[in-house]
Amino acid sequence: MSPINQYVVFKLNKENYGVPIEHVETVEKLTEITRVPNAPHYINGVMNLRGEVIPVMDLRKRFDLEHISTTDDSRIIVLSLDEISVGILTDSCSEVIALDKGQIDKTYNLTIPLEDDYVEGIGKLNERMIIILDIPKLLINNMDT
């Protein structure tokens, strides 16, 4: 494996987050979302992505951040892991960056891993801090509950 990985960077509550590009299927503008009753609270509903039904997760709710209404900049990043596809609702998304492993600090050195720890590491790029999300944990933990 090459030591340099690419990450799709998005903004949420003024912080930069990154997800590994191989898990990103597509980035979509906001479309109509149909509410799914009795789904976990952080699932806004399902959307129609070219004939496929994709659940949309509100990351602000997932990370217990304050709720704001969506804007024109809001984007849904469709992540895929094996046969699971889930869209995550983000404040904006505009760039792809490359980081090598040395630029990412593992978090378990910094924090005690909690149940709600979806962070794989902190990437540093020219004084910017990018929170790298752990996709498997983000998408699996739902199934345990």
């Binding site: 009795n38 498997p136 944990k137």
Partner: protein, 683 residues
């Protein structure tokens, strides 16, 4: 990798050949002298041998080769067909089926069938030289297999281990087996590895980390770790991770490490070598190839499909042209034409998905044979309607429930031979398996001429088990009582047998069939036999549904579960304990408010207008009815069922979703689960 495209063909053809072998073996058993059948089996074994040799599945080749030898002896009259040989051949058949299954699921065949090949050798008359030669080969294999807890490491890793042992560190081989139901294996493994990395050094893994990341492994993997912590600590840490079936921690010393040259240090580019060393009972772990489901399609049907698509293209150009001459008439005509084509296209595609139910039925003769031998009952299986076509999905799912019903019939239904003679029946019991299309449904019947269901005993049992009360049971007629069999936790046979009678039987069958959108009922005449009738919809993907509005949301209710639609006055709804009912046509009808169940926001529930009429959709499940209150109706529509995806599995009350004409999604309500909702309160 370049083999991948042939893999699917190989698996399909092997399955066909095995099916062929199965029916021929069954026939040979009854007609041991029939050389024609023998030749057929020989030919099939030979084909399999050739195919597997081409694909490099040596164990399949080996086994079929040995089978050929036996068959050849029989052909040359050196040997007679007897029960032993048939049983042996069936064992070979099972093993071959296992191999093919492994290939399909894991991408490699699994270990060699040494025991079976030994047996094959033992029945062989003469030909000693070869046999011994082969036996040597076998003992070699065994020797290799018996040194089980050792681990093969390359020299570099081995050195690290030696140093670690010298330094007094703990070196452990950790075998992790993931849970069967584990959805994201690689991610789970990743969590395990991450956990271990906090306090250990992982120096070796089998399969390699890369392969684990790419999910190229079965359910288990092995790691060699060096740590200051002891086994207990490691186990405790690992136990915190869910979805792990078992953890085995084996301390390593210098003795149980084998140096092997052929394991490369990093990863394993060509892991074939190591794979083949997996032994028979636990070796099938690595590499899961995803072979997709396929359907063999009649070329005529494809042609038909092609024709329809070309018509679709024609109509497309016609619609494009309409804009220019702007004639309303033309537009309407074109749209009608388009409608006709889409309907035919739907039909054609559905037909492509259809496969004859024979695929499921084929395995039953063998099963009945084995069971009747095991139980010492004489049983013939009569099958008809194998050519009936059903949707591919149904074929995949219907197998288990049918097996269950047939086992039930044989185990509980058909009496012991002596008892049959006493009651003046034929000595041989009969199980009939019939399939036929009926309108938009397919009906499958499992019928036996056994003792029938003792209604009184069923009633007694149901009261004992607390399924119904004594009073209720008095009011039930025979038919209703028989339906009690489908209750969870019901089994009338007192002794639990191997075959059935664990009390989990019929309700599982029922749940499965209902999940396919079908119904199952039982009919029995004491002393004469029992009949189970399964009704399944022809297709699952496209259904007729009623679209309704609740609050601001739209929902689809499958038409086949709707009994009628009516309006009732809000004032007629009565509250009984915690549930609402209405008196409708002389009987009470439980009322459910869809807006409440689905937590629909912004419904004006509070200011109930007493005189207002509400729309009630009366839905049915079996004999039970319930009324669903909705805000308004949109109309009937053909909808395509889509699942909500793996991430949102098991959302209660929702069966799936569909995409409406305007691109929006409407959810399909799961009527069956509504009855669970009222179940406790109504009965």
């Amino acid at each position: 990798m370049d083999m991948a495209q042939y893999m699917q063909i190989f698996i399909e053809e092997s399955r066909e050949n095995l099916q062929d072998m199965n029916s021929n073996l069954l026939y040979l058993e009854d007609n041991p002298e029939d050389t024609n059948t023998l030749n057929n089996i020989f030919r099939v074994a030979h084909t399999l041998k050739g195919m597997s040799a081409t694909m490099g599945f040596n164990n399949v080749t080996h086994l079929t080769h040995e089978m050929e030898n036996i068959l050849d002896h029989i052909r040359k009259d050196n040997m007679k067909v007897n029960v032993n040989i048939i049983d042996l051949l069936f064992q070979c058949f099972d093993k071959l089926e296992g191999y093919i299954g492994n290939i399909e699921n894991y991408g490699h065949e699994g270990g060699e069938a040494t025991e079976l090949i030994n047996k094959l050798h033992s029945v062989k008359p003469g030909d000693t030289a070869r046999a011994t030669c082969n036996k040597n080969h076998i003992t070699d294999q065994n020797a290799e297999n018996s040194s089980k807890p050792t681990v093969q490491l390359n020299e570099y890793v081995n050195n690290v281990v030696s140093v670690a042992i010298k330094d007094g560190l703990n070196v452990n081989l950790i075998k992790i087996s993931l849970d069967d139901g584990c959805v994201l294996k690689s991610a789970r493994a990743y969590v395990v590895i991450n956990t271990l990395e906090k306090f250990t050094d992982i120096i070796h893994s089998n399969p390699s980390i890369e392969e684990i990341e790419d999910e190229i492994f079965g359910l288990s993997f092995e790691l060699v770790v060096i740590s200051e912590k002891d086994n207990k600590f490691i186990r405790k840490e690992l136990n915190n991770i869910s979805e792990i079936e078992s953890i085995e921690i084996i301390p390593l010393s210098r003795e149980n490490i084998k140096i092997s040259q052929d394991i490369p240090i990093i990863g394993s580019m060509d892991s074939n070598d190591t794979k083949n060393k997996g032994n028979e009972d636990g070796g099938i772990t690595d590499k899961k190839t995803r072979t997709s489901k396929t359907v063999r399609v009649d070329i005529d049907r494809l042609d038909n499909l092609m024709n329809l698509v070309s018509e679709l293209i024609i109509i497309k150009t016609r619609l494009e042209g309409i804009d220019e001459d702007k004639k309303r008439q033309n537009a309407n005509e074109a749209i009608e034409y388009l409608e006709r084509i889409t309907t035919s296209l739907h039909d054609a595609v559905m037909k492509v998905r259809m496969v004859p139910i024979e695929r499921v039925f084929n395995r039953f003769p063998r099963m009945v044979r084995d069971l009747s031998k095991e139980l010492g009952k004489n049983i013939t299986l009569i099958m008809s309607g194998e050519e009936t076509e059903v949707d591919r999905t149904v074929v995949d799912e219907i197998g288990d429930p049918l097996i269950h019903l047939i086992r039930n019939s044989i185990d509980h239904g058909i009496e012991k031979t002596e008892k049959r003679m006493e009651s003046g029946k034929e000595k041989t019991g009969t199980v009939k398996l019939v399939a036929y299309p009926d309108g938009n449904n397919v009906v499958i019947e499992v019928e036996d001429d056994g003792g029938g269901i003792d209604v009184e005993r069923v009633k007694k049992k149901a009261v004992e088990r607390g399924i119904v009360t004594h009073e209720e049971v008095q009011l039930m007629d025979d038919k209703e009582s028989i339906q009690l069999l489908f209750n969870p936790g019901f089994s009338t046979v007192d002794a639990v047998s191997d075959i059935s009678g664990r009390g989990v039987g019929l309700d599982v069958v029922k749940t499965k069939i209902e999940s396919l959108g079908g119904v199952v009922e039982a009919d029995s005449c004491q002393g004469k036999g029992t009949k189970f009738i399964i009704r399944l919809p022809l297709t699952l993907a496209i259904i007729q549904a009623l679209l309704v509005v609740v609050g601001t949301e739209k929902y689809a209710i499958p038409l086949n579960s709707i009994k009628e639609i009516t309006t009732i006055k809000e004032s007629n709804i009565r509250r009984v304990q915690d549930s609402e009912v209405v008196l409708y046509r002389g009987s009470t009808l439980p009322i459910l408010r869809l807006s409440k169940l689905l937590n629909v926001p912004n419904t004006k529930e509070l200011h109930k207008d007493v005189d207002k009429e509400v729309v009630v959709v009366i839905v049915k499940k079996g004999e039970k009815d319930a009324g669903l209150i909705v805000d308004s109706l949109i109309g009937q529509q053909e909808i395509v069922i889509k699942s909500l995806g793996k991430y949102l599995l098991n959302i209660p009350l929702i069966a799936g979703a569909t995409i409406l004409g305007n691109g929006l999604i409407a959810l399909i309500v799961d009527i069956n689960s509504y009855f669970k909702f009222i179940g406790g309160e109504i009965i």
